[in-house]
Structures are given as structure tokens and as C-alpha cells.
Amino acid sequence: MSETTKNTAIKVLVFSTEKISDPAIDLAGLLKLHYPPTVYVIPLPCSSAVKPKWILRAFEKGYDGVFIAADGTDCSFSESCVEKTSDIIAQTHILMKEKGISPAKLKMAAICSVCAEPFVKHMNNFVEELTRNKIN
């Protein structure tokens, strides 16, 4: 990403999880794997704790995309995490449609605690996709 495109840059809000996906995002930094600097991360205990209203607020405030870096099957709280996080996404997608926001702006993927490379790939692809949609 060019340094001058800052103001038009795609902004992504990531909800990570303190024990699983946030360590992977840290690891990406440690390995100097680069992803767009307009990706901002808020860590939570678990990806099943994200309130749809937080996601909607992010879109209202001007984020171009929201990404949930989910615990997946690695969740230390409950196996139901995968299902619960998916439910949150599905429910939020409905609310987004009602507000005329494209569901493509909200994504989720399970990021394990050493999934640094997958995280970076997800970010690069997501930002690229959002950029394409923004231009079109």
C-alpha cells in the first residue's frame, strides 16, 4: 500500500481473542509479515462475545470492513464457540442488509494461535476485495 493513500485507505476493524487469535496477530508482527496498517485490532476474551451492535457501530463510524478472528475449535471456553460465532455473523448479516450494508463487509475466519500467515493472507485479501468493491 502506498504511503500517500492514507485518507482513502480501506479501514478494517478486527475483533481478536486474547488467548488464540491475538497471539497469532502478534506472531505476524514478530515474523515481520506485513498487512495493511489500517487494520485495527480489539481483543476480546472470546469471539462469541462480539455484540452485533458493535459491528454495526463500526460501519456507522466509517470502517470499510469488520473481521472476526475467531477461536474456532481451539476455543478454551466451549466447543459451541464455532457455532455461536457463526450465529453472530448470520444475525449481523441480516441487520446489515436491513441497513443497506453489503454483507461482504463482514467476514470471519478461525485463526489459531500460530496462524500468523493465514491471518496476513486474510487481511490482504479482505482489504483487496473491499478496495475493489469500493471502486466499483
Partner: protein, 641 residues
């Protein structure tokens, strides 16, 4: 609401300052009306910086602080303690990660990295404004550790913990203890035998009043958390009750008509369905392998201590902490890898060690006396195509030590086809000794691996030697030994049960190799020995002892402080619907009645602070302490402001 905040931006030497304009970050937040003071510092974590922060808090009467530095996983506690020394509540501190998720991740775009850091610090300030004074939860801790795996690491940790006054439940999946070391025969360093090491540990364990040993036992479920783990154990019977008359067991083994591959000897020979792995094995009672037993009843005729009707038992235990010492599996070469399983004179180092152990005078394999041996190194390690990119650490030294042993014992000459010998430290002396014995070292290019063939009865290793200007050699040998590395246990279901993270090498992952090498991100679950990464015996023992001291200091005080991350119900908004109770995996939400109104109530003792109840509430009546609407929403706003 905090209004007098101190903000510190760390250079981290050059780690942050090389890519982020630290002073610019400071300037951009300095004028915020809640920011009373802002400073940059070379190393925020250094003692002098910490002292300065404490002084600032006291003298300037700050009501909260923010430090923008590395990941909170490293220094959250460090700066919380600073807050406490300054007289603040430790939860009025927020750490902002501008290194792992700032300067390092975006070192390619310094201007943008600086912009990101500014937003992150603003969000940190927004969060600390909303922060509350909290008291950590104190929970009771059981002064008992479940050690999973009774190899040398597990046995040694058990003895140490018990000596330090902590109860131990030592749980072994097999019917016999000792793990891989009991299979290993002679060991380098002391020339002791693996069985001797295991014997001594077993005797201490079995006599120790603080240790309970479970064999044939697997962990199948867990609930609870640090201080209070409930574990469900499945105990498979050995179908043999006690020592019966001398000789009766031997007769039972003799009479058993079933013959299966002996896994303990890596299928070099056969064993019966009623078996012992070696003569003096621990516990001293044979076991019946029910997968292969035909229940013919012949053994019952000669031994009255056998009971084929014993049943699987389920037992529940409660412990404060769990120590995993589940060890490794030897790498199993795929069929055809160096002609393994296609040429009958190719075996693995593990098989060879057993063969040496079972051959007192002459070394005979498949009826042929062995005079020369070719070792092929790095089988299953340092893979170019496969996933195992790591070095298995023990194997160079082990193979060379074995070569010295067989030179002494049988006067065997050996050839070592290697990829660079890694006898680190004092182990170098073994390499020197082997070379002096006349063993030949040949280095091969991993892209041009040695080829094994058989010409009539003669096994030949064809290899290009890098050390003699790529000379092509045909080395006739009697036996080829594949120096196989370590891989994680094939059945690693325990990782799923305990949710232990797996590293890039697929071994269990520690929090930090230098700061917290035996701890995992799951509080109270520790790792020791080769389940964390390949190790030799001494290294495994060191890590198991280190884990023992961590476990002891964690739970021996009888109580543990936990984060006060709990769900809270805003009664006024709650019209009991039960969705939160359904979502809670811990049964921590109950229905109650307040002033005649049915509402939800959180049982703090059961709440683990996951937040799964938050999004399901139709009236948004639940907040998670530390992650309240106000905190999260103010961060969302500040990051894009």
C-alpha cells in the same frame, strides 16, 4: 471517568522507534484534555522508567496510566504493578500494543505505522477513561497436580512435586510406566541403562504417600479451570489382579496361543496377548492386551490371578493444575523412504537400539551376523518436502553414541551418512571418539539422498560424498539404520481436551521460550519434556523440574487470584428470556426474582468471563467487566477518529 491520565510511549530501543515516530505519537495525544502528562521513554520496562512512572503517579496524582509499548502478553503485569506501586488500582492501566501490531507488522510503511500507533494510543486512552477500579477474584486452589504421562519427565516431576508438598495423580496411558526411556537401552552421559533410570524413579513414586499412580488410564474429559480442574479418567483394566505364585505368570505367557508384533521392541519380535515388555518391568504385574486376546481361557488354567471380566472404570479427580509430559513418537518412515520396509536390511534407530539391547554377545539380524552398519541421518527431520522442518536434536548424538557402543561391544564399523553433525556442547566428545574409532562420516546433499539397493545378499548404499569433492561411493553394509527423529504423539487427543495450543512444528507450544517456557496460554496447564519440542533426557528432566516449581508456586498457597472478568446483568433492562443462560457453557446464569421481576443473575463462582452471553441478549442487558459497551464502543470510535 478518568481525567488525569499519564501516557508513556516506549521506543523499545530501536524496535519501535526505527519504524514509528514516537515523538509524533506523543505530540498527537499530548493536547488531549484528559492527558495530564505524556512522555517518551527508551525502555518503559526498565527499572528507572518504572520508578519515574511511580513518581509521576504519586506526585502528579494521576488517576490512570497508558503505556504504548509491546504486546500486553509480555508486560501487562509489569505495568499493572507499576500502577499499584503508584497507588492506583491495577485495572486503571491500559497497555497499547504498538510493537507486534505496530512497528514490526508495518515496518515497510513507517508513516502509516506512525498513524496507526496514534490511533491505537487514542483508543487506549479512550479505554482507560472508562476503566473501573476492580478487585481480582480469589479462588480456592487444590494443592494437587495431574501429571499426564509417566515417562521420565512425568515421573521426575511427580517426585519433585511430592517432595515439595504437592499431591500428585500420575496418569499413564500404557499399562507400564517409563515411556520411551525404558525402550532406550544404554544412555550417553552416564552409560546408564534406561531401565535403571526408570526403576529408581518407579521405586520412589510407588513408595511416596503423596503420589497416586494410574496405569492404563486416559484423560477423556475436563471441566473447570486453574485451581479447580475436574478431570474424567478412563481406566482400562490389565485383567490381572496381583502377583500369583512364582512362575505362574511365566506359564500363562508361555501357554497363550496369541502372537502379535511386539510394539515395545518396534516389531522386531512377537509377544503374547498376556505380556510384559521386559523382565523387571514396572508395575511388576503383567497385563492382557484385550484387543488381541481371544479369551480362550488357557491362561486361567495356570494362573489364578487372571480375571477376564474386569471392566473399564470411570473415575473423576479434582486438581489445581495439569502438567503434560506426554512425550513423543519416533518418526515412522514412509514405505520406500530409504527402502524402509522394501529392503529387509533397513531398520530404524529405535529398532536398532532394541536389537542391541536384546543381543548380548553377537549382533545378529535375520540370521546374519552384522559387521558393518550404515547410519542415514535426519530421517524425518530437516525435511525439504515434508512438514518437519525442525531438527530433532537428540538423534546425531544418539546415533554416534550407539556407534561407539557397538564398536566396543561387537567391534562393528560404521558409516555415517549425515547432513552436518550436530553434537552440540560436550556431546562433541562423542563425535571425536567415534571418528577416532575409525567410523567414516559421509555428508550428503539433501536433494541427492543416498540410495539403498540390494545386490544378491549384499546391501549397498550409493551416496555422493560432499566432503570428498562429490565422489560417488558404493558402500557395502550388513545393515542400514535410519536415524529417525522425534514427532509429536500420533494420538494427541489430549490437546483437544485441554485446548493446548500447537506450535508450527506441531509440538505443544509454550507462552514464550525464554520468559515462560513451561507454561501454556491455558492457565494452570504446564508442559514438560519432549511434548514441547525434541529434547534429550537431561533436557527433559530440566524442563520437568522447572515445570514442577511453577506448578508448586501456582497452587501451593491454596488460592489463586483471577482476573475479575465477569458478566454483569443490568437489572432494569433485563426481562428474563433465558437466552443468556442457554448460551453460557458453565451454567453460571440463573433465573432470580427481584422486586417481583424475573431477571437473570450471574453466579460469579462459575462465570469464566468468556462473554458468550453478551450477543444473545435481545435487550442488551449484559456487560462484561473490562469489555463493557462503553469501553469497546469508545475504542471503536477512537480508532477511526
Amino acid at each position: 471517568m478518568k481525567k488525569k491520565i499519564g501516557v508513556y510511549i516506549c521506543h523499545c530501543g530501536a524496535n519501535i522507534a526505527d519504524h514509528i515516530d514516537v515523538e509524533k505519537v506523543r505530540e498527537s495525544i499530548a493536547s488531549d484534555e484528559v492527558v495530564f502528562l505524556s512522555r517518551t521513554t527508551m525502555f518503559a520496562c526498565s527499572d528507572s522508567s518504572q520508578k519515574d512512572m511511580v513518581d509521576d503517579i504519586k506526585k502528579q496524582e494521576l488517576d490512570a496510566i497508558v503505556v504504548a509499548s509491546c504486546s500486553p502478553k509480555l508486560h501487562l503485569q509489569t505495568f499493572r504493578n507499576v500502577a499499584v506501586r503508584g497507588g492506583l488500582n491495577k485495572y486503571n492501566y491500559v497497555q497499547v500494543n504498538i510493537r507486534e501490531q505496530g512497528s514490526w507488522a508495518h515496518s515497510d510503511t513507517p508513516a502509516a505505522a506512525t498513524e496507526k500507533a496514534i490511533q491505537l494510543v487514542k483508543a487506549g486512552i479512550a479505554r482507560v477513561i472508562e476503566s473501573q477500579e476492580l478487585t481480582p477474584l480469589k479462588i480456592e486452589a487444590h494443592n494437587k497436580v495431574a501429571i499426564i504421562g509417566a515417562g521420565v519427565s512425568g515421573l521426575r516431576a511427580a517426585v519433585e512435586l511430592a517432595d515439595m508438598g504437592t499431591h500428585v495423580d500420575l496418569i499413564e496411558r500404557e499399562h507400564f510406566i517409563g515411556g520411551r526411556v525404558s525402550q532406550w537401552g544404554q544412555l550417553f552421559v552416564s552409560e546408564k541403562n534406561g531401565e535403571e533410570i526408570v526403576k529408581k524413579l518407579y521405586e520412589t513414586v510407588i513408595d511416596h504417600p503423596m503420589i497416586t499412580l494410574y496405569t492404563g488410564t486416559e484423560l477423556i474429559a475436563r471441566s473447570g479451570s486453574v485451581g479447580n480442574y475436574n478431570l474424567q479418567l478412563k481406566i482400562t483394566p490389565r485383567f490381572v489382579t496381583q502377583e500369583c505364585k512364582i512362575g505362574a505368570f511365566d506359564k500363562a505367557i508361555e501357554i497363550c496361543p496369541v502372537s502379535v508384533d511386539d510394539e515395545f521392541n518396534f516389531s522386531l519380535n512377537k509377544r503374547k496377548a498376556i505380556y510384559k515388555n521386559y523382565e523387571s518391568e514396572f508395575p511388576h504385574i503383567a497385563a492382557i492386551d484385550m484387543l488381541n486376546c481371544t479369551k480362550c481361557g488357557k491362561c486361567l488354567e495356570v494362573c489364578n490371578s487372571i480375571n477376564l471380566n474386569q471392566e473399564i472404570l470411570i473415575e473423576n479427580i479434582t486438581v489445581g493444575s495439569i502438567l503434560l509430559s506426554t512425550g513423543f513418537d519416533p518418526y515412522e518412515p514412509s514405505e520406500n523412504e530409504f527402502s524402509y520396509k522394501t529392503i529387509d536390511t533397513v531398520i530404524t534407530l529405535q529398532q536398532f537400539k532394541r536389537l542391541v539391547e536384546l543381543s548380548p554377545n553377537k549382533l545378529i539380524y535375520r540370521d546374519k551376523e552384522i559387521k558393518t552398519i550404515g547410519f542415514i541421518y535426519c530421517v524425518g527431520s530437516l525435511q525439504i518436502k515434508g512438514d518437519n522442518k525442525y531438527c530433532s536434536r537428540y538423534c546425531c548424538t544418539s546415533a554416534i553414541h550407539t556407534a561407539i557402543q557397538i564398536h566396543r561391544k561387537y567391534n562393528i564399523k560404521s558409516y555415517h551418512m549425515n547432513r552436518g553433525i550436530r553434537t552440540y556442547g560436550k556431546q562433541e566428545l562423542l563425535y571425536t571418539e567415534s571418528s577416532k574409532n575409525g567410523d567414516v562420516y559421509v555428508e550428503f546433499d539433501p536433494k541427492k539422498e543416498p540410495i539403498i539397493s540390494k545386490n544378491g545378499k549384499q546391501t549397498i548404499i550409493k551416496v555422493v560424498d560432499l566432503l570428498t569433492a562429490k565422489e560417488e561411493l558404493d558402500i557395502p553394509v550388513d545393515l542400514v539404520v535410519l536415524v529417525t527423529g522425534m514427532v509429536p504423539r500420533k494420538d494427541n487427543s489430549i490437546a483437544d481436551i485441554l485446548k493446548v495450543p500447537i506450535g508450527r512444528d506441531k509440538f505443544f507450544n509454550e507462552i514464550h521460550p525464554k520468559l515462560r517456557p513451561v507454561e501454556t496460554v491455558i492457565d494452570g496447564v504446564l508442559i514438560a519434556g519432549a511434548c514441547q519440542s525434541p529434547k534429550n533426557i537431561t533436557e527433559s528432566l530440566k524442563s520437568s523440574l522447572a515445570a514442577a516449581s511453577k506448578a508448586n508456586s501456582l497452587i501451593s498457597k491454596g488460592e489463586i487470584e483471577l482476573e475479575p472478568t465477569l458478566a454483569v446483568i443490568h437489572i432494569a433492562q433485563c426481562d428474563w428470556c433465558g437466552k443468556c443462560a442457554d448460551a453460557c457453557p458453565f451454567g453460571a446464569i440463573l433465573k432470580t426474582s427481584i422486586d417481583g421481576k424475573e431477571v437473570a443473575m450471574v453466579n460469579n463462582a462459575n462465570c469464566k468471563g468468556c462473554g458468550m452471553c453478551l450477543p444473545v441478549c435481545p435487550t442488551d442487558a449484559i456487560d462484561l467487566i473490562g469489555y463493557t459497551n462503553r469501553e469497546i464502543e469508545s475504542m471503536i470510535d477512537a480508532l477511526i477518529d
